[in-house]
């Protein structure tokens, strides 16, 4: 039964208190005019100021060791904080990737020097990261990346092109997956390495790409013979693939996979509660059942991570179900809009709905596609 197992984890009173603390902080921030809630804020809404405030509150790098400025709290505590931030549509995009995966990756594989240099700044909300995995010719087939790092006398020379990197235009670093030696015939995953690249270095060009919603949040990054020191290598040379796989479990299992558009749902219900009670209870009940189940699964994965496991398959389950839930939710609101016509919605709600409708196709692409998630699950079931 283990493949399908998501042990139930209880939210302790301490965790609930933390939840309230974050919630009060957010309410105050909204009242103070620090931000107004948006949909898909962890990708689309960056505010370095807000990130710094979150850092000051001690809510970044929560599980990182104290000696690097971290707070040595649990993955479950981090889970509670991220849930509250996501549910309120707070502008968390600037620090999201650094806090979610890059910091952990450096702590796991980095040198003492790298940790001392970077982790304290991630924790204070002043150092942002981008993910340098995809390339123009390498999407789902990540192992086929062509960006190349060649050894020089005193370091490396990086050459290639990364694409779709969310937030690279405001990030300080990118973790770049590059080829350091040719793949062997038997194993295409060999010969890849990860690099910690300071994006302020010369010969790096970052160009924003306008997405279909008219926003520029992802980028193409050109590395034109970028000179890197020996210390830029993250982890072990040639072990890039196994390092990336662990990173993806962090990337895929979190509550952003089902709470990206929660603000829309909350606002919708706030607006139409009485009409829903008359003719939409069943739909609301279904959404609650799906959402609550997802929260349990994701919280359960957080505890697996806390215990040092690398729940790759469980993360794929969460991502796949979460993506599906979000699409279903938006379709459901459309269905209800037959009862409550769109033109009767307040403008702010209409805008949220339209943003969500436009952005939703990307949720099952970013972080690995539906087809790739199903492939991971099929492999776990012994079908591949």
């Amino acid at each position: 039964m283990s493949k399908y197992n998501f042990p139930s984890i209880i939210e302790t009173n301490e965790l609930s208190n933390l939840r309230l603390e974050v919630r009060n902080f957010i309410t105050k921030s909204i009242n103070d005019g620090d931000f107004s809630p948006t949909a898909d804020a962890w990708v689309f809404s960056a505010s370095p100021d807000f990130s710094k405030k979150i850092g000051t509150m001690g809510w970044l790098g929560m599980s990182f060791p104290r000696k690097y400025g971290g707070h040595e709290r649990t993955a479950l505590e981090r889970y509670i904080v991220t849930e509250e931030l996501l549910a309120s549509g707070a502008p968390v995009a600037a620090h999201w990737i650094a806090d979610r995966q890059s910091g952990s990756q450096i702590l796991r594989f980095g040198t003492e020097e790298q940790k001392n240099l970077i982790i304290p700044k991630i924790t204070s909300g002043e150092c942002f990261f981008a993910i340098g995995m995809s390339e123009p010719d390498s999407g789902s087939d990540l192992a086929s990346v062509k960006t190349k790092a060649t050894k020089t006398n005193d370091g490396w020379k990086l050459e290639g092109r990364k694409i779709w990197s969310t937030g690279a235009h405001i990030a300080h670093y990118m973790i770049v997956l590059a080829r350091t030696s040719p793949a062997s015939k038997e194993n295409r995953h060999e010969g890849l390495s990860q690099f910690l690249v300071d994006l302020s270095f010369p010969n790096i060009k970052i160009k924003g790409i306008e997405d279909m919603t008219g926003q520029r949040h992802f980028n193409e990054t050109l590395f034109d013979n970028v000179i890197l020191s020996k210390e830029s290598l993250l982890g072990e040379e040639g072990k890039g693939w196994s390092q990336v796989v662990g990173e993806l479990a962090l990337e895929r299992s979190g509550p952003e996979r089902f709470l990206s558009h929660f603000t829309l749902l909350e606002k919708f219900i706030g607006e139409f509660r009485i009409s829903l009670l008359k003719s939409g209870s069943s739909l609301v009940g279904k959404l609650i059942a799906e959402l609550q189940t997802l929260r349990r699964m994701s919280f359960s994965v957080a505890s697996m991570l806390q215990n040092g496991n690398s729940p790759e398959t469980q993360a794929a389950f969460v991502k796949e179900l979460g993506n599906r839930f979000e699409k279903m939710m938006i379709e459901s609101l459309r269905e209800i809009s037959n009862i409550i016509p769109l033109y009767e919605w307040p403008t702010s709600l209409q805008n949220l709905f339209e943003d969500a409708t436009l952005r939703i196709p990307s949720n099952s692409l970013r972080g690995g596609t539906t087809e790739i998630m199903k492939g991971i699950i099929a492999r776990q079931l012994g079908l591949r």
Binding site: M1, Y4, E11, E266, L276, L321
Partner: protein, 346 residues
């Protein structure tokens, strides 16, 4: 999982694998000696009294201990009222009545119940396995309070229902039938909730079996010169089933937080909704990947999918529970959705 439960799970698996064949499932009647032997073993090992109090020779484990046992039994397709007896014995024990020996079953619903001078008349509906036992309990309102009634069916009118051709079920019409026991239910016991929980646990067990059957079948069946499991379309179909099962097991696991029988209404609703949705998807997908073979009676897939159809509807379908859950939130107008979802006392 604690040790005692591990041992019980192991025993359950052993007993069931010794007795159960697909042929046995197709001959559910009271003169099938294999069924009688199976039941003898089940009772001898105390499996029907896992959550019965010690004073009634039970193991006195917490309520949720039966969930893995029920999952195993349904995974193996046990064709006797095992789950039903566990629940009936539990109710007896909670009411401080010594549970009777043998198989006991229950009526999922009742109609026109009239009680007079310790005799009862009326319609008891959708009783599983009434052809194997005459011991039946049902729940009825007396002065607006829920009571458990225990009878032995002597000469009631038994009418087999179709029940999706799943496990045998009967509607029973009784006239002045003697009441053996009648007692008011404790306030913390809700028969309908109990039913929803056990049917959900059964669905989870059956769904795991269905996925295993699909994996085995598709790995062995060769078309276009390779096994079906090598086709990506098939792999993704099976992955889809696994995703649904994962959500259902997570919903079931939430009941593990409760050692007493007071799981929250919301948790039960979520469980029944989530497993019901998953069941619908698994029925469709598993039959699709099995081709015509899955559509036969001889191959065991349909035994499990037919059960899913039936259990989905017992004790409230998804639609009923969705309505109830949606209302329970919408009516609490002092809470927004996020406060509701994160409120532990709900």
């Amino acid at each position: 999982m604690n040790n005692e439960l591990d041992i019980i799970s192991e025993t359950t698996t052993k007993i069931f694998s010794k007795h159960i064949t697909h042929e046995l499932r197709q001959n559910i009647n009271d003169n099938n000696t294999s069924l009688i032997n199976l039941w003898k073993d089940i009772e001898e090992q105390g499996l029907t009294k896992i959550i019965v109090k010690e004073q009634f020779e039970g193991s006195n484990l917490p309520f949720n201990s039966i969930l893995p046992v029920i999952q195993i039994s349904t995974m193996m397709g046990v064709p006797v009222p095992f789950t039903e007896t566990i629940i009936c014995n539990y109710l007896f024990s909670e009411l401080n009545i010594s549970p009777p020996n043998g198989m006991i079953t229950f009526a999922v619903e009742t109609k026109n119940i009239k009680i007079l001078n310790n005799k009862v008349s009326g319609n008891l509906l959708s009783i599983p396995y009434l052809n194997l036992t005459d011991q039946v309990i049902f729940i009825t309102d007396i002065d607006k309070e829920k009571h458990l009634v225990f009878i032995k069916n002597k000469n009631g009118k038994m009418e087999a229902t179709k029940n999706f051709l799943s496990e045998p079920r009967y509607n029973l019409t009784i006239q002045d039938c003697e009441i053996l026991t009648i007692k008011k239910l404790n306030n913390n016991i809700n028969f309908n909730h109990l039913g929803a929980i056990i049917r959900s646990a059964q669905m989870v067990g059956a769904m795991e079996k269905i996925i295993n059957l699909s994996i085995d079948y598709c790995s062995q069946r060769i078309q276009f010169g390779r096994s079906l499991s090598k086709f990506q379309a098939i792999q993704h179909q099976i992955a889809e089933m696994a995703v649904e099962l994962a959500a259902s097991t997570a919903a079931l696991a939430s009941l593990n937080n409760f050692n007493e029988l007071t799981p929250k209404l919301e948790d039960i609703a979520i469980l029944k909704i989530r497993t019901g949705i998953a069941a619908g998807k698994l029925i469709a997908i598993s039959h699709q990947v099995h081709g015509a073979m899955g559509f036969t009676k001889e191959y065991e897939l349909s035994y499990f999918t037919k059960n899913l159809n039936s259990w989905r509807n017992d004790f409230g379908s998804e639609a009923c529970w969705q309505e109830l859950l949606g209302k329970s939130f919408l009516e609490k107008s002092n809470l927004n959705l996020w406060e509701y979802l994160t409120n532990k006392s709900i």
